[in-house]
Symmetry: C2
Amino acid sequence: MRLRVDLAYDGSGFSGWAKQPSLPSVQQTLQTALSKALRLDVSEVKTVVAGRTDSGVHATGQVCHLDLPSDHPLVAAPQRVDGELLKRLRGALGKTSSIWVNRVSIAPEGFDARFSPLRRRYEYRVADAVATKDPRLAGHTLWISDSLNVSAMNRLGKALLGLHDWASFCRAREGATTIRTMENFSWARDFEGVLCGTVVADAFCHSMVRSLVGAAISVGKGDLEASEVVALRDKADRTSAWKTMPAHGLTLVEVVYPKDRELARRAQLTRAPRAPLSD
Amino acid sequence: MRLRVDLAYDGSGFSGWAKQPSLPSVQQTLQTALSKALRLDVSEVKTVVAGRTDSGVHATGQVCHLDLPSDHPLVAAPQRVDGELLKRLRGALGKTSSIWVNRVSIAPEGFDARFSPLRRRYEYRVADAVATKDPRLAGHTLWISDSLNVSAMNRLGKALLGLHDWASFCRAREGATTIRTMENFSWARDFEGVLCGTVVADAFCHSMVRSLVGAAISVGKGDLEASEVVALRDKADRTSAWKTMPAHGLTLVEVVYPKDRELARRAQLTRAPRAPLSD
């Protein structure tokens, strides 16, 4: 039996999703809580995640899965998952409010948190000179002193869409593909004037969103033209023309999965062409 | 010359507005920055604030004033206040984003940050079982596991309005009046289902908003009837029928001043009847 866990976290206190020796990670914290809630040894709890968020990155719509040993009591009593297990898991996470489990459910046949998604959606918040700076939100908002031109940033966003090699925006990782389809990259000011950037793609390579945001901010400031960014993207090589923006402005807000009957096929499709390149 | 400072802060790291020996306070931090920006000795910088927020309480719309010595260079160059001084003050506060100065201006004749206000507006955020819990916002939102009945809370809010003695909601302070006019006490869910309470009064006594919120939550849970709260208020004596809610859910969002020509008269009016009772 495979469980799907939907969760949210404030990434400030974590060195990212992925478990690392002697550093606090979301994965380790969650797995420890899961092992308590499931009464399993922590070595038996292995989560697979939709978005391996970097150190300091937040999530409101993160998804992961884990497989239960076939002799686990819940396998014979699946009705206890979404009530009792959820309650135990929240209890095991304790009063800390930096991780919140929204839901625990039995994953449908073929579901794979990492390989089944159709797309991931990230949000990046920037308070520029025009925005009202709210210190209560500073933990997930980048503050800058310049004024940004939102129209120019949106022109860049449109110019970048589609299936491309994003190597210019990615920290190279041995054997990982940098070819992705970007479906949306747009900016709008909220009621406080804070620029909220939305980035949607089938998947992202390492540091890609924060690098895209860096390019957008350079265009918004007037330091770069959209056409220059597109030209540099087409070179598909690391560039220093823009910066990778800080992690704390970034949040994984949604992971979209196909309908249940398409889950397994989607996972196959995602895996297949990337197999030799997969991260 | 009197300066008006409009500021916002995340109260998490502070033991409240008021300066205290050996504890970090907003006032002390701001006065130190003001002394640098104004090139004055810190002992010469004395701020008077609109809302003396308690330990852990936030503000987005706080206002304070301070008087410059008559020989200060800015007195002869008031045009430098809203640009140069603001910039220097933000610089002196440093890269910390827990205090943000929105504006520095020359206060109009008769302005008194503490005594001129017509009203203060506070917000209290509660994420109950119905709300989406966002860990990024947990620093300024109370999380509870019950479901709250918003209509019942709003019926209480309406029943409480008007000029009353609020002693049942206040931590007693020698010589301080507990008679206030409550103009608004209402609740609405935001897009995430989080209950946002608004409390408006001419002024508040110590812990009054958090105690009002405690009563509202008891009514929202069904533990108390609105009529019981009203009856206890009319006894004007401390009660244990409801709790004082935690500070971190509370934010001072607005201080409303009258038109310039009414400032001095308002300050006089506020001060006069309270003179023997003033805190």
